[in-house]
């Protein structure tokens, strides 16, 4: 807890950390309470005011059915942001476990796992996600799984190299010389010292996950209509794109803003959690 407060305080000291923290905090609020905050029903049609530009009534304007874009963004935040975090969590947790295990065990097991991971990583991330979705079928949840699986190898590689670095440190040698069990060494000696780099990487990956999730929905393989998922909103709006830019701008800027927020927070965390910067 104390560590959390200290980290937060240090984060607020750098401009990027502060902006990132505040933005991410707001976003999480919106994701959780979005539907309650929405001024209008996101699905109600207002044929009188189709393609309306932003105004007091419609903060971000309206789409081709006259639906309030602001409300749709607020409601859609949940299916974009929370699902992206879930996807990142799946990828990070499974990747980190594989990486630590592989790095700690070493030998031919390590070589086999890493070569396999190399091969999986030789498939570009989006392509891998597409292939997984081909098998699983298109849906938001399947997109989450696909992104999680696509993230796992990268995460595994990072945790493995961190494990190898930590493993060489004398306190792990000391534990081995002491005859500690493997479980203790992994969970008590190595894991706590890997949390920082993994958290930094995971935070930045949330930004990636958001963008990939929206991309998959855009390609028609993630969220299905009439969900107000942001990527899908843009895909649907393309038909009418030369009538009004707002149905594209509103979700587009939202996606970029969320990604920026997590990128900023990740970079801020990297500086704060870097052992060299700790006095």
């Amino acid at each position: 807890m104390l560590f959390l407060i200290k980290t937060l305080r240090a984060l607020m000291r750098s401009p990027q950390g502060a902006v990132g923290t505040v933005l991410v905090f707001l976003l999480l609020l919106i994701s959780v309470f979005g539907p309650l905050l929405a001024p209008q029903d996101p699905e109600s049609f207002n044929f009188g005011s189709r393609f309306a530009p932003p105004s007091a009534e419609f903060l971000f304007g309206t789409d081709w059915f006259g639906r309030d874009l602001f409300s749709r963004i607020l409601v859609g935040a949940r299916s974009t942001v929370l699902l992206a975090i879930l996807a990142t969590f799946i990828g990070t947790a499974s990747g980190a476990l594989i990486g630590i295990f592989s790095g700690f065990v070493g030998g031919w097991v390590d070589e086999l796992i890493m070569r396999t991971i190399d091969a999986i990583m030789a498939i570009p991330g989006l392509l891998l996600a597409l292939m997984i979705l081909t098998v699983l079928g298109s849906s938001s949840l399947n997109a989450v799984i696909a992104i999680g699986v696509a993230f796992a190898p990268g995460m595994a590689r990072i945790s493995r190299s961190t494990t190898l670095a930590v493993r060489e440190l004398d306190y792990v040698s000391a534990a081995r010389a002491r005859g500690e069990s493997k479980l203790w060494i992994i969970f008590a000696e190595i894991l706590p010292n890997m949390v920082a780099p993994v958290i930094v990487e995971a935070t930045i990956r949330v930004a990636f996950a958001i963008m990939t999730l929206a991309t998959l929905s855009f390609l028609g393989l993630g969220a299905q209509p009439p969900s107000p998922e942001w990527g899908l909103m843009i895909a649907d709006a393309r038909e009418h794109m030369f009538r009004s830019p707002w149905p594209i701008l509103a979700p587009g800027i939202s996606i970029a803003l969320v990604a920026i927020a997590f990128n900023l927070l990740g970079d801020g965390l990297r500086d704060v959690l870097n052992p060299h910067s700790q006095e």
């Binding site: 004398d170 306190y171 040698s173 706590p192």
Partner: protein
């Protein structure tokens, strides 16, 4: 007077701004270096001695809060110069030799190009002339085959050769002043002495002035004319080398010298002073004298009246207002080491450690296995209550041996603990043989409290201690290593270097072991802290009869802890002898060179120079002859190359050495030290 000075620092102070407020780095520094003079600057870690060098170079890494005073280089004030003006002086008038040559060279540039670009930055000359000058310089700094050397890249040459290249760059433009920032601390002892010889020789040849920064008084004594002692950002004493060593006046200088081991210590039965003081305050109120918080003769009525400045007092400059009051000397530990017993605790026979693994693909490609024979067929015995020191330069295999003994490296050979044959390292063995690592920063898990660290060891090794008694046991451990009890909830990073090493010692003795392996545990510590750790280990040995295997590359400290020493070279123990006879021949030629390269801060001891050429070869295949043959100054001839050196007994079982020379011949060799 000012006109003749190469460097004249006048009342220079530097304060950095940090997140937790301003921090005083340097305070009221006054220093002069005359033409052709070498001034030594000595201080412990954190004394800001390197900061002073970078201030002179006008390259300040921190956020400057306040900078006052002036710095004159041959009559020009460096502090008012623009970056452009400085650029033309750096490397030309004033140059620098860095602590770590390995990182001071660009890995993507050849050694020759480094010097070429330095020359070209300061004077226009044709390409041929420049190259000719490079070869000249390489020859000057003792690099054989300059043309070949110029085409090599930093990773292809040894540490000593890199440092020579850095030196060549430093002298390339005939500077007025060279700043040496710990130029030998990253080098092995036998390489370091060669460098020191080279510095002295260069100095004589080109007559350049130098500022020689080091934490090691012995090293400074070798090269400097005068020595300035810096403590907590203030110069406390400046005197000639002889005056300073013979008669230190400042209580800090006295304490520093008293904690340094000397070659004459066994003869003179001199103990080391144990004074592990806290560093001086750098924030908040400015103390009158920054040593007062740990000074035994501090008298508020006299010392705290006004700021104590560096002033001329007799033959030197001194920052002390009570120099004639004697310091209480009772803190020195005794020099006597209790005799060891004759019961063998740990015994190894024909122990071999091979390092390096090969990947599956390499094997398929039929690549030659690159296994290094780190430890080769060694025998060693340690008795109860005995300290055996294992000495040798980096890469000689001493750490590989240590790691093998605690199960971190696999090995071949016999291992016996208390007469019991050890095939696989079981729990009982692990409890009985403990290890302490060199760097407590990495040997203590930064995410564990001291309590967790110690309770873990107790839980594993002391099933006799019930869970609810552990807290008490931890309490006792803290007392044994003299750490305050309230530290138990702290994390390692909240402790000083010496304190951390005490925690590591506590963890080792928690098991109540029979043997503790100390792997370079005092290197990297300041002299006073080293003396304290050594005193602590001796106390523990006295109380528990534990045997110590004390691994070190620092020969000076041996006399204060070890009973016997084993000298390692290229994975073999080439000599084993008792410490009490360390001052007398016969020596193995390598031991002789190693002993000679230990610097001595003692003006009354004269060290005979024995120098080695080249650097340690890597041992991938077993040599037919003697391992030391390629560098041996006493090489006999082909026999050294063709036949392995036999182990010979000098004194039955207590002094053996491995050499083709007859013992009688080695006995006639002059001793390494002459004491007056």
């Amino acid at each position: 007077m000012t006109q003749t000075m190469v460097l004249d620092i006048k009342d220079y102070s530097l304060t950095y701004q940090t997140q937790s407020g301003p921090i005083r780095i340097l305070e009221n520094i006054n220093l002069q270096i005359a033409k052709g003079e070498v001034l030594g600057l000595v201080g412990e870690s954190g004394s800001a001695k390197s900061s002073l060098a970078y201030s002179v170079m006008r390259d300040l890494p921190g956020q400057v809060e306040l900078e006052t005073g002036s710095m004159w280089l041959k009559g020009e004030d460096l502090m008012t110069m623009t970056e452009e003006e400085l650029m033309h002086r750096r490397g030309k008038q004033i140059s620098m030799v860095f602590q770590n040559a390995a990182t001071a060279l660009d890995p993507t540039q050849s050694l020759g190009d480094h010097v070429v670009e330095t020359l070209q930055a300061h004077q226009a000359a044709s390409k041929e002339d420049t190259l000719k000058r490079v070869y000249e310089l390489f020859e000057l700094v003792g690099l054989p085959d300059p043309i070949l050397m110029a085409n090599k890249y930093p990773h292809e040459v040894s540490g000593g050769e890199k440092q020579r290249v850095v030196l060549a760059m430093a002298i390339s433009s005939n500077p007025d002043l060279i700043l040496f920032d710990e130029p030998t601390s990253a080098l092995d002892a036998t390489t370091a002495v060669n460098m020191l010889d080279l510095f002295a020789e260069m100095q004589k040849k080109i007559g350049v002035a130098g500022l020689f920064i080091s934490h090691d008084l012995g090293v400074v004594a070798e090269v400097a004319d005068r020595v300035a002692v810096i403590y907590g950002g203030r110069i406390v004493e400046v005197a000639t080398v002889d005056d300073l060593f013979a008669n230190p006046k400042h209580p800090y200088t006295q304490s520093l010298l008293a904690s340094l081991p000397r070659p004459s210590d066994i003869r003179n039965k001199r103990g080391l002073k144990v004074d592990e003081g806290t560093p001086p305050p750098r924030r908040g109120e400015v103390p009158s004298c920054n040593f007062s918080h740990r000074c035994s003769k501090h008298d508020p009525a006299i010392c705290d009246q006004s700021r104590v400045f560096l002033e001329v007092q007799g033959d030197r400059k001194l920052a002390c207002v009570r120099p004639d009051v004697a310091v209480d000397e009772t803190q020195a530990s005794s020099s006597d080491i209790l005799p060891a017993t004759t019961d063998v605790v740990l015994e190894v026979k024909n122990l071999t450690v091979k390092l390096g693994r090969t990947s599956l693909l390499d094997e398929l490609l039929n690549k030659e296995a690159t296994q290094v024979h780190a430890v080769n067929n060694i025998d060693l015995k340690i008795h109860r209550g005995e300290t055996v020191s294992l000495v040798g330069e980096s890469g000689c295999g001493k750490s590989s041996l240590a790691r093998a003994l605690v199960g971190l490296n696999s090995f071949e050979g016999e291992l016996r603990l208390n007469g019991r044959d050890i095939k696989a390292l079981d729990e009982a063995y692990r409890a009985d043989v403990q290890i302490i690592f060199q760097n407590p920063d990495s040997s203590l898990n930064p995410r564990h409290t001291l309590e967790t660290i110690l309770s873990r060891a107790i839980k594993l090794y002391r099933p006799d201690i019930a869970t609810d008694e552990r807290s008490e046991a931890i309490q006792k451990l803290f007392e044994q290593v003299r750490l305050p009890a309230h530290y138990r909830n702290r994390y390692p990073h909240q402790l000083s270097g010496g304190e951390k090493q005490r925690v590591a010692i506590a963890r080792a003795i928690a098991a109540d072991p029979k043997v503790i392996i100390c792997d370079e545990i005092t290197s990297g510590l300041d002299a006073a802290v080293q003396a304290a750790i050594v005193a602590l280990l001796r106390k523990i040995q006295q109380d528990t009869g534990v045997a110590l295997l004390f691994i070190t590359h620092d020969l000076a400290i041996l006399r204060h802890i070890a009973h016997r020493t084993a000298v390692m070279y290229l994975g073999e123990i080439i000599e084993t002898r008792s410490i009490s006879g360390l001052d007398h021949a016969p020596y193995h030629p390598y031991t002789e060179a190693l002993l000679s390269s230990a610097s001595s801060p003692d003006p009354k001891t004269e060290t005979r120079q024995v120098r080695l050429k080249g650097s340690l070869p890597v041992r991938t295949s077993l040599l037919t002859g003697c391992g030391f043959e390629s560098r041996c100054p006493r090489r006999i001839g082909d026999i050294c190359h063709e036949q392995p050196a036999p182990m010979k007994e000098v004194v039955e079982s207590s002094h053996v050495l491995k050499c083709h020379h007859e013992i009688v011949d080695l006995e006639h060799i002059e001793p390494v030290w002459k004491f007056t």
